[in-house]
Amino acid sequence: MVRSLVEVKNLVKHFPIRGGVFLKEIASVKAVDDVSLTIGEGETLGLVGESGCGKTTLGRLILRLEEPSSGEVFFQGKNILLLDKEQMRSLRKDMQIIFQDPFSSLNPRKTVSHIVGEPLLVHGLRSRREREERVLELLRVVGLRREHMRRYPHQFSGGQRQRIGVARALALHPKLMICDEAVSALDVSIQAQVLNLLKDLQEEFGLTYLFISHDLAVVEHVSDRLAVMYLGKIVELAESFQIYQSPLHPYTQALLSASPIPDPAFRRDRIILKGDVPSPIDPPSGCRFHTRCLYAEDICTQKEPQLREARENHLTACHFAGSVGVH
């Protein structure tokens, strides 16, 4: 396997819920609960799961935009959680993020030139002229033109704004790029454009992507490996073709059966999950999926399954991995 760029070990993030007169912690939202994974240099790791399963929080934790409750994040072998503010600031050059909402991720009061040039300014490129040149180059890379520089975000379409966001993220030549639902807010035709742009950029700059999405078709298109999250935990992690061909976890199987296939003649058995995602404030005992699982047995309510190698290079957290469901 290639060298790992990011290594996440037992990462936990609980958001406290405070109440009462003295604002005591009365409960917590277990957004990310004991997640471990690695992202290899130059690869694209897809991260899928329903809304509210902790995908976005995981992405932000890796960038240290949020402080984890416990666990470790290694970037190029260094534990970034031990870095002080100043060291962290200079490390941010290497890790960037593209946001889901192209409307709130760009400051409405700044011109494109300012937005894309700010990372350069922050990291010491003082000369305005050099900055503008770099901005121009970046805009060209993402397919925008010179006359766009002086405009404000509200003058662009969603796809164009997302390109501005990509240009900003690229400005510092990062190694890791977290794409947090980067194309979910866009029309399908624009999605394809931006996805292809991201792929081209990966080849050109040797980027590593953590590609967070709820859209299985999009993730299949871009990722080398795939992690499936459910209620703050990773339930399955493998090469993406393995997961698409033979998912082991019942949750993944249900997810895949729900994703549409562009062939009207094709009929398949859909697995319909019952109920809603349980609350992350009070997750179910044992296996978190047991409340909705078709194959749940007694052990699932009592013992939490560990993420284990059920097949070669195919990790899954299910007691009955490989023996239940569609194969």
């Binding site: 200079s90 050059k93 960037q96 991720s105 760009l106 009061r109 700010e118 990372p119 990291h123």
Partner: protein, 298 residues
């Protein structure tokens, strides 16, 4: 419907500021307020050219002369004279200077200190926020004129101290407004983006967030001018603000109070001046609120 000529910019292409100015211009009461404010500022700046007499020049034989339109009125003193024979119109014109100075300085103190505290509070949250905002709550818990009097009692009377006192009591209202907007803006992704590029805290607060909090701040500043003029007049009336012979509207009313039955004009005209100035700023402030932030409209 969409028969816009090609030369005209599409609505999406215009800066929101243009729309806001248009909305403001269509609001007739706001325009009226703007005119009053313009006259007020114009008068204050050009006081030496406009006033017919020296505002502190006493004339012992011309005490309490009525305005020109009454039977005993004289053309030298259009609005009459006070009990020391000073020309009321000239004192009103110079009084506009004092009021404008007070308004700018006090609101300036309030906006600068208040925005700083509010922004820090809203950005860092937690313990610091609690300390700052509880202190602001304490300031707000006092009736504000009473608090100003307490501060004046400590520092001594005088226009400069009055401005400081009123400035201090204006800090909390600006701090609260800025804090609320910063809290709202903080959740937006562009703030996370600024963090992700490694921007320092001061840059995130002052370069990224604060420019997006300007709309409510501008509105509150305009309304603040109105109450600053009113509060300065109140302190002047109580004898704590501008000291004689400075022509200050509140102090003029206080002086005229004892002659109200014999010479109504001595305290009526400064009263009208205060009313107009405060009304002007309030109307304009309300119009600004409607124009800048349609969500806030009642």
């Amino acid at each position: 419907m969409t028969s816009l000529s090609p030369s005209k910019k599409s609505p999406e292409d215009r800066h929101p500021f243009v729309d806001q100015l248009e909305r403001l211009w269509r609001n007739k009461t706001a325009v009226a307020g703007m005119i009053v404010i313009a006259i007020f500022i114009f008068t204050a700046l050009l006081a030496p050219l406009l006033s017919p007499h020296d505002p502190v020049d006493t004339a012992l034989y011309d005490q309490l002369k009525p305005p020109i339109w009454s039977a005993e009125g004289r053309s030298e003193n259009l609005l009459g004279t006070d009990d020391l024979g000073r020309d009321i119109l000239s004192r009103l014109i110079y009084g506009a200077r004092v009021s404008l100075l007070v308004a700018v300085v006090t609101v300036g103190i309030g906006v600068l200190v208040g925005s700083l505290l509010g922004a820090i509070s809203g950005y860092y949250k937690g313990f610091l926020d609690n300390i700052i905002m509880r202190f602001m709550d304490i300031l707000l818990a006092f009736p504000h004129i009473l608090l100003a009097i307490v501060i004046m009692a400590y520092m001594g009377p005088g226009l400069r101290n009055a401005m400081i006192a009123i400035g201090i009591i204006y800090i909390p209202r600006f701090a609260r407004i800025v804090r609320a907007s910063v809290l709202e803006e903080y959740e937006k992704d562009y703030v996370a983006a600024a963090k992700a590029i490694g921007a320092k805290d001061w840059r995130i607060i002052f370069v990224a967030i604060l420019p997006n909090c300007l709309a409510p701040l501008i509105v509150q500043t305009t309304l603040g001018f109105a109450s600053a003029i009113l509060d300065a007049a109140a302190l002047g009336f109580l004898g704590l603000g501008a000291q004689p012979p400075t022509p200050e509207w509140g102090a003029m009313i206080a002086m005229g109070r004892s002659h109200i039955l014999r010479a109504w004009w001595v305290m009526t005209f400064p009263g009208i001046a205060i009313l107009l100035a405060v009304l002007g700023f309030n109307l304009f402030g309300d119009g600004l609120r409607d124009a800048l932030d349609p969500r806030l409209t009642d």
